[in-house]
Subunit: 360 residues, 2 copies
């Protein structure tokens, strides 16, 4: 009490709360002019804010009085560790700015996504984050309408022709690096488990590339990166080595069994999420095959148990929290009035080399 | 179009949507009287509903016209797979009843929890689910106030003296079963990693039990179950074998190292969440110790990679989706008008025996 802000630089709402001897949430309510606050508490907080020179920033000025001080987030599956991590990054960043975050789940259903966006707009959210279930070439009228009403940032998946900010990892570069690591070890039969659901897999490289245009961008870009790496190594594309099925552990098991039973079987595998990885590991375990020694393996998403596996698994690490932080900061800047052209931010993923790649 | 409902029994909103030739979300909006719906679409949906004999249920009647048709959920950490699974169960069940779910995160901070509850009440949620950060004996005025305004169901953690429904697993029974399985294999030095943060660990059993009264109920009940199993097997309680620290992988590593370096070291370990399990596995890997053969191990939460581990790990499986479903059904029944006394629902957890328990 009576002490100045602990950190250098601009005083924060926590500094004001400490100086006024109240909780951070109470101070935020008093300064934000929302929620129930006693006149006495408001006076104390306002005096502390004045004494410390606390000023609300551009963001606060642009939050209208009727604003909900809330960001709306629409994701495909909140139980997927990828989205859980991203949402955590968004939530933490929004909270530091004094905004709450509400999350709705779509289960990859485009109707549910449109409904979720509508619900959030009815709740007067100040901005929207959407990991859309739509393919990159889909018309997405619900997102065009939403973007006309509030700032909108796309996360993980991009849509062509929608002029809004987006934050993704560089999926093509990540898949290219993972595939190249397997090819460099001498493998020529590298299986991909899996990309977006496209059945049957087009038998020609060009047709596959065309078909990818209508798919969700994340998976499509990973297939593109895989194809790029093959071409760079002059290894022909074989549709039997590309599983483009529904994303379940069981589908990954079936695909892995099929690739290992080919007359010229896969000797290396690239998995594009942790469901696919679990399916592959289940098949390898059942067949008594050891990653690295018998079948080489690179996986997407550096789940915490991958480094503890026997042997430790080589994985592509996506910066989940950083994705969420970047999304929230972009959105807060737009709410705060930034009006330069939309940005397409691509964060790099990192190939974490461990021991699951061996010689052919 | 024009066909009857596909399933037997009461027609659902999907049946109405199909008969009217519109999307489920549009049919829900038309019948629910919320959102923007053209008069023509509303007429079509209402005619289809009448033709099929679709009737809104007690829940729908009790949702007031100004209702948000939304359930609010407050959890400690949305990135924790346990809460992600529970939230998924809640979301799916609420959606089937035509309600949306908004989720707020508290990071186990009681101030943030109180703020989150306030925010959700301001948004006119029809009901609340809270996994509280409060200890079982805490006063929780924010939850008493909330329960006076809307139906409230506690999930995962209970609070004494708050007359609302709760849904948890039987944590004491689950920990007892896990500990007993280790004792039955001949182990007498069974370490617990970990319960609620209580430093230093009280050196006497009775004092530890008293201290647990003020802790979050979930962790406290697991320590109680562990102590019960020891007593039943006439194995003395040793505070050096109980790690009650912050819940991070690093803290679990330190605790495991300490227990394995005791003059009379732990020969078996019970972990109470997946962070603790990761910490234990990291230490075992570093020391070249194999679960089952060198140190026996039972973990809480049957994460999908546990059965693929080498050797497959014996785990306590919590029914995450069922917890969420039960919570949502209780809450919807209360919103629908059920007014019998509060229920404390305890779902059983299951000990999934695999190969990580060996002889002493």
């Amino acid at each position: 009490m009576g002490s100045g802000p602990a950190s250098s630089g601009r005083p924060t709402i926590s500094d004001v709360a400490a100086a006024a001897g109240v909780g951070r949430a109470s101070a935020a309510r008093a300064l934000g002019g929302y929620g129930a606050v006693s006149p006495e508490l408001r006076r104390r907080v306002e005096e502390a804010a004045a004494a410390l020179g606390y000023r609300s920033n551009a963001l606060a000025r642009n939050l209208s009085l009727g604003s909900s001080r809330t960001l709306g987030v629409v994701v495909a599956d909140i139980a997927n560790p990828f989205f859980a991590g991203v949402v955590r990054g968004i939530t933490d960043t929004a909270r530091r700015a004094g905004l709450d975050t509400v999350v709705l789940n779509t289960d990859e259903d485009l109707d549910d996504e449109a409904h979720a966006v509508e619900v959030l707009l009815e709740k007067s959210v100040d901005g929207l984050v959407v990991a859309t279930a739509a393919g990159a070439d889909a018309p997405v009228p619900h997102l065009h309408e939403a973007a006309a009403q509030v700032p909108l940032v796309l996360v993980d998946r991009v849509v062509h022709g929608l002029a809004v900010d987006s934050v993704t990892i560089d999926n093509a570069a990540a898949a290219r690096a993972g595939t190249a690591a397997l090819l460099e070890a001498g493998h020529r039969r590298v299986g991909l488990v899996w990309g977006p659901a496209l059945q049957p897999v087009p038998a020609q490289r060009g047709r596959l590339l065309s078909a990818l245009d209508s798919a969700v961008s994340t998976g499509a870009d990973r297939v593109r990166g895989y194809l790029d790496a093959l071409r760079a190594a002059r290894v022909p594309f074989d549709p039997d080595l590309v599983a483009l099925t529904e994303s379940t552990v069981e589908a990954a098991q079936d695909a892995t069994d099929r690739m290992l039973d080919l007359p010229d079987p896969a000797t290396a595998l690239l998995t594009t999420d942790d469901f696919a990885l679990l399916g592959v590991l289940r098949v390898l375990g059942r067949r008594g095959l050891r990653p690295g020694a018998d079948v080489s393996l690179v996986g997407f998403d550096d789940v915490p148990w991958a480094e503890l596996w026997s042997p430790p698994l080589t994985m592509i690490a996506q910066p989940l929290l950083a994705l969420g932080t970047e999304v929230a900061e972009l959105l807060l800047a737009r709410i705060g009035g930034r009006d330069d052209p939309p940005r397409a931010v691509r964060l790099p993923a990192q190939l974490v080399r461990r021991d699951s790649i061996g010689p052919r």
